[in-house]
């Protein structure tokens, strides 16, 4: 292996160079050496600052956690007994001279972008985000910075979302049609975020909304912490299948692949995901219908969000990172791809099973 004059491999040398910056990627997470804080670490560290409660960002095994007040109950629900400190949006926290501030990311309830400032240099770690206001998550706020770390889950120009009201209309129409045919409608969605978004926005006058156990458990945690969720019924084993007729069930994708759906007899299956934008992805899943609904920024929102930060340096993480950073370079940004363990929106997520 080639080594430089200090006996370091090129990778070690690069990491050393990076370490001198305010934030770096140390193989465990996004690291602030000055404060000795990791953001969204994927390996055990002492101090973890968490953007939001999804399992690829908030993992078990950290010495202590800091997250938004709204995320505390979610983290407790998902991680059990851990040391958590809640912080309000916009409230500054100083750690060894470094200022950390959480701003809404609009991704799910409690989700945040974390601004890190030190001696006039400012970075923003955005985690996952979307710009459109879903009515239940705290709405995205653009935060100015020098360096912006962005996801790129849907960083291709084919991923552009229709206004969400249109998607809810389509869901209601589909539900009513199935109901008229005496069928149960099942929609798969993430247990944290999209499930609640659907619950809040569907027309409850059409019929009853049921939830799979993993979703109901998340709902319970959210309700307990004061989130005003509309009423849902837990789809437990002891409910008679006749109770479901004409109803709408929100389930995790792993539940739909199991025997769990058998109890509904005659049902139609819909998937709510940004990936449903492409026919091939939908057809492969053998669902009846795809609803293009995502908690991630689409192509336009990614570009818009980046412009609003006024940053010149962009780190592109999970998603179509190489393509998207190439695009950013063409737009005049100093963009780089960085590998992380974040997953973004997964079509075939199995994470839900662990919390069911």
């Amino acid at each position: 292996m080639k080594k430089d004059d200090r006996g370091r491999t090129s990778r070690q040398a690069r990491r050393y160079q990076d370490m001198k910056r305010l934030l770096s990627f140390d193989g465990k997470g996004i690291y602030c050496a000055q404060a000795d804080v990791h953001i969204d670490p994927w390996k055990p560290v002492a101090k973890a600052f968490i953007t939001h409660g999804h399992s690829d960002h908030a993992r078990w095994g950290m010495g202590s956690y800091v997250c938004t007040n709204a995320s505390v109950s979610i983290l407790k629900h998902r991680l059990g007994k851990v040391k958590i400190h809640g912080i309000a949006y916009g409230e500054a926290m100083m750690v060894n001279g470094v200022e950390f501030t959480f701003f809404p990311a609009g991704h799910v309830i409690g989700s945040a972008q974390i601004r890190v400032s030190y001696k006039g240099e400012t970075w923003v770690v955005s985690g996952d985000y979307k710009l459109s206001n879903d009515g239940i998550s705290e709405a995205f706020e653009p935060v100015k910075c020098h360096t912006f770390i962005t996801e790129s889950t849907f960083g291709l120009p084919v991923y552009r979302w229709d206004p969400q009201e249109q998607i809810y209309d389509r869901m209601n129409t589909w539900w009513k049609k199935n109901q008229a045919e005496g069928k149960v409608s099942i929609i798969t969605a993430y247990s944290l975020g999209k499930a609640q978004r659907i619950i809040q926005n569907l027309d409850h006058s059409v019929g009853k909304i049921f939830t799979h156990g993993a979703i109901e458990a998340t709902n319970r945690a959210l309700r307990a912490s004061g989130v005003p969720l509309l009423d849902t019924t837990h789809a437990t084993a002891n409910l008679d299948y006749k109770e479901y007729a004409g109803g709408l069930v929100i389930a995790t994708s792993s539940a739909v692949n199991s025997n769990w759906t058998k109890k509904f007899k005659d049902f139609r299956l819909g998937i709510a995901s940004g990936w449903m934008q492409v026919r091939g992805a939908r057809r492969r899943r053998a669902a009846d219908i795809g609803f293009v609904l995502s908690d991630h920024a689409d192509w336009n929102e990614l570009n818009q969000a980046i412009a609003l930060t006024e940053a010149s340096e962009i780190y592109v993480t999970h998603g179509f990172s190489e393509i998207f950073s190439q695009h950013l370079i063409e737009q005049g940004y100093d963009a780089k791809v960085v590998k992380t363990a974040f997953e973004g929106e997964q079509l075939d997520s199995t994470e839900e099973e662990k919390v069911a």
Partner: protein
């Protein structure tokens, strides 16, 4: 386009066959005759002639959307469908145009002779006037390949409901040489006489592979066995002193096989024979490779006729003296067929013999000699069976010999299309030649979606180099490939060409070093 787009939307939003049939029936009940006729044409693989190249479409889509061409191409690799990619990158429509399906097709057809600028203007106009689904369909009309979840079988069912006629009759009426320009809805589906078109073939009867133990077929006396030959299934027609040859894919291939066409003109008036077009010389069949030289040739040279001679291996008689005899028993039909072959005494018409057997065991023994005879195994047919339409279980079965197998290393992976877009599904395989790997086959079927997903993750993490949608990967994964035959080939680096290679299973138990060697492959050469 609205009605057609609604049909598309309904079909898109269900995974149930009955819903799709209902959507089609509804469409047929509402649409006008010209839209109906074009719909039937599209779903029976009669696409309009291509008037605009896809390279223009790509360029214009890039221009109108402001998405640079490299980014457009990357998007296309992920989406896996050009028409869809274009429809997804374009800005929202700014105007409306209420033309229906057949009008838009005429619009596209009209662009054949015009200048590039004019074509571009016309395409831009359409893109600006159509919504997402309509645009996708418009693009599909240009690029062809109309696979949107409606099979010909499904459409036949819907037409049968719509017109209250049996599906067999509909299937028969939809066969043959017609285009929307040569006929109309009335003539194609409603006129009393089906056979105003003398070239019209019958729907082919296709068999499934034997599923259970062969003994489960019951009394051997009720069955006949014929060798299954590896040629092109075809239907040879002689009507009004003219002959026509149809391939199973419903292509008219009369000119490709002039020696059979010539023979057929001498058949009795009103004869239709089902058989195999087969490379054949000195009383024995040639390999499929010989026949391959003839496929797709419209003009056949004398040299080629000599190099790759063919015969019609006759299996069945569907029409005798102008009468449709498909409802008679196989035994009766075969008697008449034998008579015709006997009377004609022509070197390019050979009767496929019934293989005599006492019991299933003796037939199983005989099957082991298939390869040396150049056959793929047996066709088993019930003596009392009528000639049905399409692929049906029960009366006919294929009983093929087990395929050859070889363990190979994956070297290249390519993204799939359509349902498999964004997954790596098309692979190139290699075997060892000394200490180097030499590629010898491509295969893309035989794995589950779950396995494809796993392999896709492997490819993403182990790519050495990317060439557009193709990635070369670290030689680590081993697969057992199955194939039907093997021939020497100068065109391939490995020196061999396989027939029907497909993936049998993933050999997770084997490291690349334990894959087979080229010598192992060559040992299988005939």
């Amino acid at each position: 386009m609205k009605q057609f787009a609604q049909l598309f939307r309904k079909v898109e939003e269900t995974n149930k066959t009955n819903d799709k049939v209902d959507a089609l029936v509804h469409f047929f009940n509402e649409a006008d005759d010209s839209d109906k006729l074009w719909t039937i044409a599209l779903f029976s693989h009669r696409r309009p002639r291509r008037t605009i190249t896809t390279s223009f479409l790509r360029e214009w889509a890039s221009e109108m959307s402001g998405v640079p061409t490299w980014l457009f191409e990357e998007s296309y690799h992920i989406v896996g469908d050009l028409a869809e990619t274009i429809s997804l990158v374009l800005p929202n429509p700014t105007q409306k145009d209420e033309r229906n399906l057949s009008d838009w097709i005429e619009y596209i057809q009209g662009l054949r002779e015009v200048e590039e600028e004019e074509k571009k203007r016309a395409v831009f106009y359409a893109w600006k006037s159509l919504n997402q689904d309509e645009r996708f369909l418009f693009n599909k009309l240009i690029t062809g390949g109309f696979r949107i979840g409606i099979s010909q079988k499904l459409m036949t069912r819907a037409l049968s409901k719509h017109l209250d006629k049996p599906t067999n009759e509909i299937a028969h009426r939809l066969m043959g040489n017609w285009t929307p320009d040569s006929t109309d809805f009335q003539q194609l589906l409603l006129d009393d006489s089906i056979s105003s078109d003398t070239s019209k073939p019958y729907p082919f009867y296709l068999a499934y592979a034997v599923e259970e133990k062969i003994e489960d077929l019951g009394d051997p006396d009720e069955w006949t066995a014929e060798w299954k030959w590896d040629g092109i299934r075809g239907q040879v027609i002689c009507r009004e002193s003219e002959s026509f040859i149809w391939s199973r894919g419903e292509e008219l291939v009369t000119d490709t096989f002039p020696e059979i066409a010539m023979m057929a003109t001498k058949l009795p008036e009103g004869t239709v024979i089902d058989g195999e077009i087969l490379g054949y010389e000195n009383g024995s069949p040639l390999s499929f490779q010989a026949l391959q030289k003839r496929i797709g040739r419209k003009k056949v040279t004398k040299k080629l006729l000599k190099e790759a001679p063919v015969v019609l291996m006759a299996y069945d008689l569907l029409e005798c003296k102008g009468e449709d005899i498909r409802n008679q028993s196989l035994e009766e039909r075969r008697l008449k067929l034998a008579e015709i072959v006997q009377d004609l005494q022509h070197p390019t018409l050979v009767l496929s013999e019934s293989v005599k057997f006492q019991n299933w065991e003796t037939l199983a023994e005989l099957r082991k000699t298939s390869r040396e005879r150049g056959a793929e195994g047996f066709m088993l047919k019930k003596k009392a069976s009528p000639y049905l339409s399409g692929r049906k279980k029960g009366d006919w079965w294929k009983w093929k010999v087990d395929p050859y197998t070889i363990d190979a290393v994956m070297l290249y992976a390519q993204r799939g299309h359509g349902r498999r877009s964004s997954l790596y599904t098309d692979f190139t395989f290699a075997v060892w030649n000394g200490d180097r790997l030499v590629t010898f086959a491509k295969a893309y079927s035989g794995l589950t979606d779950k396995e494809f997903k796993e392999i896709t993750a492997f490819v993403k993490n182990n790519t050495i180099e990317r060439f557009g949608p193709v990635s070369s990967v670290k030689p680590e994964l081993v697969f057992e490939l199955a194939f039907e035959g093997i021939q020497e080939s100068k065109r391939h680096k490995s020196g061999v060409a396989l027939r029907f290679p497909r993936i049998k299973r993933w050999r997770r138990d084997k490291p690349a070093s334990e894959a087979n060697h080229l010598e192992d492959l060559k040992a299988l050469l005939p």
